[in-house]
Amino acid sequence: MPEQLLWGMEIVMNGLMTGVLYALVALGFVLIFKASGIFNFSQGVMALFAALTLVGIMEGRVPFSHLIKAVSGVSVHHFGWNVPAFAAILLTMAVMVLLAWLVNRFIFRHLVGQEPIILFMATIGLAYFLEGFGDIMWGSDIKKLDVGLPEGINDTIDEVTFNLLGYGFFIDNLDLWATFVAVLLVIALVMFAQYSKHGRAMRAVADDHQAALSVGINLNFIWVMVWSLAGFVALVAGIMWGSKSGVQFSLSLIALKALPVLMLGGFTSIPGAIVGGLIIGVGEKLFEFIIGPMVGGATENWFAYVLALIFLVFRPQGLFGEKIIERV
């Protein structure tokens, strides 16, 4: 088999894995938008906040230690214990549920009936608040996140492809795990939405708030639940991305990668987020491989947004989004 073709195959496989990681971030946006019509600008920062909280709990860090020192002069950074990863994930999830409740109680409950742009602006404010709050709570240093997921080249795939094709493919173990977790997450979310009582209530709220209210669905509860689910998705995305680069401020910027994914897949479709992520992941990697060397490289962000722009022109609702029909 020609070398270029083998490399292309390797790139497609890695692009698929990267696409799954993009989709993980995009899923959080979809959940909230679907249920409440809010485009949650703070989804990336929620991933950062969740990952910061997870590391903080795992390492037994004292929250607000810098603030405590500045105010009282007392220097306490660690409790002196470590929490196992699984327990820390559960505790972090509890924090994200609390955050969801607080966000609804103090922000969105006061904005019911407001224009979408107002709600969007509120999420921008929330993003900036969480950025600063996360820094004050856990510090700005880069934190290593190790929840026990394997990292580095998968030797089995390397050996098998080498024996079969004469070229060993590189697949990162962490990406394989991310794919596995993302598949489980999507199945769980779809099952929840389709078959559980609260999932059906969530879909009813998404279809028509007024109608849902009229049949006795508690809107506040559903919104807290949806924000908690988005918090859970943010935690999963934060774990996967944070394991690759350490937990740091830049984790919040992964939201930028989710935007073209959403434009492609549609803002209201969970399968759309996955398919959009895969298309962006594979497309940007192949484009960088084939066209990148001719134009100096670093084409990936450009490609993702140009592809999204093309979709906006020809199919503004995305691949799986609901077509907006307004009758006059």
Binding site: G73, S75, E131, S140, G152, G246, S250, G297, A298, N301
Partner: protein, 427 residues
């Protein structure tokens, strides 16, 4: 009564504003934002050195030092705002830890007559003081870094690197592209094959670049990164099992923050530096006695001895020595920014001086002049010891290839002079 009121008002103004007799060294810091992990230790080191001088020596030449800090979040517009907000406080010299802010400030500080020091960053050709009288970039610049990295590779390869493959992984920005021309010129001289790998900002996703490196198997990789790009690149290099001792970062890719997330896999990774590493210096004893133990340390006090904290100390030490030189030249302790510029242009850093400051062998020796605002282009190589969790200097300071670097600086600075109608000259 009127006299009393006037006296009170004057007193209030003097108390509220900065005392003009003080020496003001503003700190355009970034403790927030995507690069806070690099900005915090630098700002802490910069502030702690001046606190030490105030506590131990009563300032410089009897004048107390003030370090007003202004948060830029590494944002160029905010950096310019900070400059405008602090320049009238009697600011003697600016050290923005950002190439973007540096480029914006060059025309402003030139017009306002306030010197700027951009050690290891900013506009490389500012080394030519005949064109850039107010900008200094001693002791080393980006092009020196590229050249010293190649020099180290030549030493590792026993003197001959013809036919070797060297890849540059760089941040796709003006900063990241800085070494390309130098490396191309050096490849013509030494016969190595150079490949370029641009990484999009912020650098969170680099799979394409590292798959290509895995396919092409370069003998060495040089990196010009900053922020998350560094951590991801080092992790990806570990993932593809690239030999870490053949992976060399510029000094902005050589902090503890960059290597720790990759754990033991980062062991052996190298990075350039223009100052020494660790905390085994007499100066640290003084810092402990006069600053840390008195609870006067800047920030949370958890950055002492890190690579970028040391860079902050070094940056403060250089301008403090320049201020002393200015006081000697002008025979006054109350120096102005113009006098400070003269002090910087007459600065000479010798081993004897560094030893007397409690920082033996901390940086290269150099002498500044009007023609040479950038020092002699010396840098060393540090290597990360993951087991000990510390950087260690593994080479002496090496001089960059002046035959290559100097003509590039001359050409670039003269082009700038022509574009901006500057008549180069040294008085």
């Amino acid at each position: 009564m009127k006299m009393k009121l006037a006296t009170l008002a004057l007193g209030a103004v003097m108390a509220a504003g900065p005392a003009m007799a003080e020496l003001v060294f503003p700190s355009l810091s970034y403790r927030t934002g995507p690069y806070a992990a690099g900005g915090i230790p630098f700002a802490d080191g910069y502030a702690d050195y001046f606190t030490l001088l105030n506590e131990r020596d009563g300032g410089i030449g009897g004048e107390m030092i003030e370090v007003p800090e202004c948060e830029t979040a590494y944002n160029t517009e905010k950096g310019v705002e900070c400059y405008e907000a602090t320049k009238d406080l009697g600011s003697l010299v600016y050290q923005p830890l950002s190439t973007g802010i540096t480029y914006q400030l060059i025309p402003k500080i030139t017009a306002d007559g306030i010197p700027m020091l951009t050690s290891g960053l900013g506009r490389t050709s500012a080394k030519n003081g005949a064109v850039f009288p107010w900008v200094f970039n001693f002791p080393a610049n980006y092009w020196d870094g590229a050249s010293v990295a190649i020099k180290h590779i030549i030493e590792e390869e026993g003197g001959d690197i013809s036919g070797k493959k060297i890849a540059l992984v760089y941040h796709n920005s003006a900063y990241g592209k800085e070494p390309i021309r130098t490396l191309e010129k050096l490849s013509e001289k030494h016969g190595y094959e150079l490949t370029l790998q641009a990484v999009d900002h912020p650098g969170q996703e680099q799979k394409s670049q590292w798959l290509q490196i895995r396919r092409e198997r370069p003998d060495y990789v040089i990196m010009y990164g900053w922020g998350v790009m560094n951590q991801v690149a080092i992790q990806e290099a570990v993932n593809i099992r690239f030999p870490m001792e053949n992976f060399i970062g510029i000094w902005w890719s050589g902090s503890e923050n960059d290597v720790k997330p990759a754990g033991d896999g980062a062991h052996g990774y190298k990075a350039l530096t223009f100052h020494n590493l660790g905390d085994d210096y007499p100066l640290y004893d003084d810092l402990k006695k006069h600053v840390f133990d008195k609870d006067l340390a800047a920030g949370s006090g958890d950055q002492h001895g890190t690579a970028i904290y040391n860079r902050g100390l070094y940056a403060a030490m250089l301008v403090a020595e320049a201020a002393k030189t200015a006081q000697e030249i002008h025979d006054t302790s109350k120096i102005t920014p113009a006098m400070m510029r003269d002090g910087m242009e007459a600065l000479e850093m010798t081993e004897e001086k560094m030893e007397s400051l409690g920082l033996p062998r901390f940086g290269p020796e150099f002498k500044v002049s009007c023609e040479n605002h950038g020092g002699n282009g010396y840098a060393a190589i540090g290597q990360w010891d993951a087991k000990a969790g510390e950087w260690k200097l593994v080479t002496d300071y090496m001089q960059s290839d002046q035959e290559i670097v100097q003509p590039l600086i001359e050409a670039d600075s003269m082009a700038y002079a022509e574009e901006n109608g500057i008549t180069p000259g040294c008085n």
